[in-house]
Amino acid sequence: MEKRSLWSFHFSTASLVLIPAAVGINYIGKLFAGVLKLPLWLDAIGTILASMLAGPVIGAISGAVNNIIYGLTMDPISFVYGITSLFIGLIAGIMAHKGWIQSWGKAVVVGVAVGLTAVVISTPLNVAFWGGQTGNLWGDAVFAAVMAQTSSIWLASFLDEIVVDLPDKVLVVLAAYAIYRGLPDNVKQMFHRHSQVEDLD
């Protein structure tokens, strides 16, 4: 096993197999949020966890694959937002690598960064696809209010997306961080990119 850099595209088998598991965790998060009737999606926990465990490239692929699979199995609109998921995984992975997952306070910063990334990428998609709305009741109420006041689609859509995405993504990152902290070391080590194996012969 050679030393791998942050941007390596040579994936170990473990990190490749992590991708479907991450997609599964995203699914489960969304299902539990539904079962518990939480007013959030919580559907990116797996992506964030994969980024924390195996780095930005695996995180980004997990995000994109998640939306492709989700599009194939539940809701074709999610294909459109695949690029948002990709960037979520990327940003979370880079920040995790730079040491931003050592405390709760730092995890909140990662959450805000991931949330803002999602907002910045999703807003143009919303404007292009829906004319600016998100389909979320509260967000669209904000959209309508801002449109009535300022008549700027971009501002309205941006605020709509912030209301919808930012709290959700912050909580997703915190949930992923809580799970990550609880993981035993032998699980974390599996995907470690800095592991060096000493040869004995």
């Binding site: 170990s12 479907p20 539990f32 009737k37 926990i45 829906w130 004319g131 449109m147 799970i179 699980v187």
Partner: protein, 255 residues
């Protein structure tokens, strides 16, 4: 185990078309209304996608998906008609509220486009078995290891869903509350998802080892378990779609 795919097994001409061609159709359905930005194009593309869904005998199956889309589209029509920046000509007023023509037309245009794009994706999703899609992509040069990743999601997700059910039952039998106030329900989230995540990560380890001893990383020519499916008119459909797209691009640049 419950399958998670939306695929509908029917006998239609669309089921016998190469999945890659359906993906090119999605590209065309998105690109054409952008290249030729007028009403007729949006309308024609939408009708074309709906017609293909009907040809594929999956039109009825597409309705539940459209149900959700329509819900959002209704709010789009409402909000754009009331607040769109270019609103000038009133259509009708109810008390203090006036509904405008420009916003309505804009919303209608969005509606056509959304129905068209969702329809083009549904053609792929409803008439293609996920495993056929993956195999088709691997034959066109996608890395087989990555093909495995895509294909295995369809096995892992149902597995995890049954784990999830087991863990929910286990935690409930230990007296954990999963209903009631919002704070109670939020507190229940981590004890529910934590064990599922941990067990799936341990499975990742086992799966990785199992794959490696079976030569997952072996170098050399990979072969396929199944013979290549015979698809209908693969070449001509592909060329036809690209010709239409290039024609639209040329129209856009020169006219």
């Amino acid at each position: 185990m419950k399958s998670i795919s939306l695929y509908v097994d029917r006998d239609s001409i669309l089921h016998r078309i190469d999945p890659v061609n359906k993906m090119v159709y999605i590209l065309a359905a998105i690109a054409l209304p952008i290249l030729v930005p007028n009403w007729y194009m949006a309308l024609i593309c939408m009708l074309c996608s709906l017609f293909l869904l009907w040809i594929g005998k999956v039109f009825q199956k597409s309705l539940p998906v459209y149900g959700f889309v329509f819900l959002i589209l209704i709010t789009v029509i409402l909000i754009q008609g009331l607040f769109h920046p270019s609103n000038e000509t009133p259509l009708f007023s109810l008390g203090l509220v006036t509904y405008y023509r420009e916003g309505f037309l804009f919303a209608l245009w969005i509606t056509f486009r959304v129905i068209n794009i969702v329809g083009s994706f549904l053609i792929l999703v409803l008439t293609t078995k996920p495993s056929d899609l993956v195999e088709s992509l691997v034959r066109r040069g996608l890395s087989p290891r990555f093909g495995y990743v895509l294909g295995s999601v369809f096995q892992i997700v149902p597995q995890m869903m049954s784990t999830m059910k087991r863990i929910t039952d286990a935690q409930r039998s230990r007296g954990m509350e999963t209903e009631g106030k919002l704070s109670v329900r939020i507190k229940a989230f981590l004890p529910l998802i934590g064990p599922v995540v941990l067990s799936s990560l341990i499975q990742v380890k086992e799966r990785a080892m199992a794959l490696e001893v079976r030569g997952f990383n072996a170098k050399g020519e990979k072969t396929f378990l199944h013979e290549e499916k015979a698809y209908v008119a693969t070449r001509s459909i592909l060329w036809g779609l690209w010709t239409v797209m290039i024609a639209a691009a040329v129209w856009r640049v020169f006219l």
